[in-house]
C-alpha cells in the first residue's frame, strides 16, 4: 500500500495536515524517529539536532563525513519504511529519497510568508516581525540543509505530485485532497479511507 511524503514550510499547517491525513487513512505518521534513528546509525547524533534546529539556534555544523554517513543512513531507514507501507513521512527529504518509487505520493504544503508569520505570531503571541524572522530563518535553514545533503532545491515543484497552498484551504480540506490523491495511485492495494 502507498507511502506519502509531506514536505512543508514552517507555519504552513503541514504538520497538522500530515497528522489528519494519517488519521483518515489509518497510516502511521513518521516524523522525528526517522532522523534520530538515521543519526544513530550514522554515528553522527549531531545530524539529528541539525535537522531539528530549523531556526539555527544551536548553530550546529556537520563535517563532510557526518553528512555523508547521515545521508546514507537516512536512505537506508527510509527504504525500510517504504517496504513497510501505509506510512506518512513528514519532512526528512522523503521527496528525494523515494523519488520515482512506485505508489509514493509526494506532497508539498506551502503558504505565503506573510500568512505563515501571522499564524506563528498569533499562536505564540509574539510580534509579527519576530514571527517573520522565524519564517525566514526556517525557510533558509531547511533549504540550505537539503541543498547540502542532496543538492536539490526543495521549492522545485517537479519534486511533488501535489502542491497545497493553505491560504485558502484548511487542514481538513487539505487532508482530504491528499487521501483522494493517494487512493488513485496505481500499484499497491489500499486500506481504505475513514469517512
Amino acid at each position: 500500500m502507498p507511502v506519502i511524503t509531506i514536505s512543508r514550510q514552517f507555519g504552513s499547517l503541514g504538520s497538522q495536515i500530515a497528522r489528519e491525513s494519517a488519521d483518515l487513512l489509518r497510516y502511521r505518521l513518521v516524523w522525528r524517529d526517522l532522523i534520530n534513528e538515521s543519526a544513530l546509525r550514522a554515528g553522527a547524533p549531531g545530524a539529528a539536532l541539525a535537522m531539528i534546529d530549523e531556526l539555527g539556534l544551536l548553530g550546529i555544523s556537520l563535517s563532510k563525513r557526518e553528512v555523508q554517513e547521515f545521508r546514507k543512513a537516512l536512505r537506508q531507514v527510509m527504504g525500510e519504511l517504504y517496504k513497510e507501507d501505509n506510512v506518512v513521512i513528514l519532512g526528512r527529504a522523503g521527496q528525494i529519497i523515494l523519488r520515482g518509487k512506485r505508489s509514493v505520493l509526494h506532497v508539498r504544503v506551502i503558504a505565503p510568508a506573510k500568512l505563515r508569520a501571522e499564524r506563528i505570531a498569533a499562536r505564540h503571541q509574539i510580534a509579527y516581525e519576530n514571527a517573520l524572522a522565524q519564517v525566514k530563518a526556517s525557510d533558509e535553514n531547511r533549504s540550505k540543509f537539503l541543498k547540502r545533503l542532496f543538492k536539490i532545491d526543495w521549492d522545485d515543484p517537479l519534486l511533488y505530485d501535489l502542491l497545497i497552498d493553505t491560504s485558502q484551504l484548511d487542514v481538513t480540506q487539505s487532508a482530504r485532497l491528499i487521501t483522494q490523491a493517494v487512493t488513485s495511485l496505481p500499484g499497491k492495494k489500499h486500506a481504505g479511507v475513514l469517512s
Partner: protein, 142 residues
Amino acid sequence: MKSIKGKASSSPPDTPAVSPSRRSSFYHPAEETFATILDYYGIEWEYEPRTFPLEWDERGNVIEAFSPDFYLPQQDLYIELTTLRPKLSTKKNHKLRRMKELYPEINVKLFKRKEMRDLMVKFGLYEQAAMIAGTGAQNQDK
C-alpha cells in the same frame, strides 16, 4: 544529583511550543536557555544525569571528573555548553579529549552559547532570552 527532565513532543507541532520555566533548577542561566531551546523543538533531555571519572589518584580516588550539562536520550548524545573564554575553553577541551580516550562509545558535543541570546531576541523569544543576563552570564562558568 539533579533530576530535571524535558519531555519530547509526541506529535509534530507546526510550530514548536515553549514549556514553563524551570529557572531555579539550573546552575547557570545559559543552561536554562539551552533547555528552553530543546523544549521549543520538543527534544527530550536530562540535566547532568551522569558524571564520568577522568583521573584517579594512586589510591583509586577520583580526582577529576566530567558531568556534561545535558543528555538527549533520543539522540543518545551528551551536550556541554561553553563560553569563548580561552582558559575555560582549553580546560574543557582537555576534558573532552580525555572523555574520548576513556569512553569512546559516549557521544559528547560542545556548544558555544555566545549567539543564543541574540537569536532568541530576534525570534521574539524574549522571556527565554532574558534568562541569559547579558555579558555577565557569558563570563560565568562552573
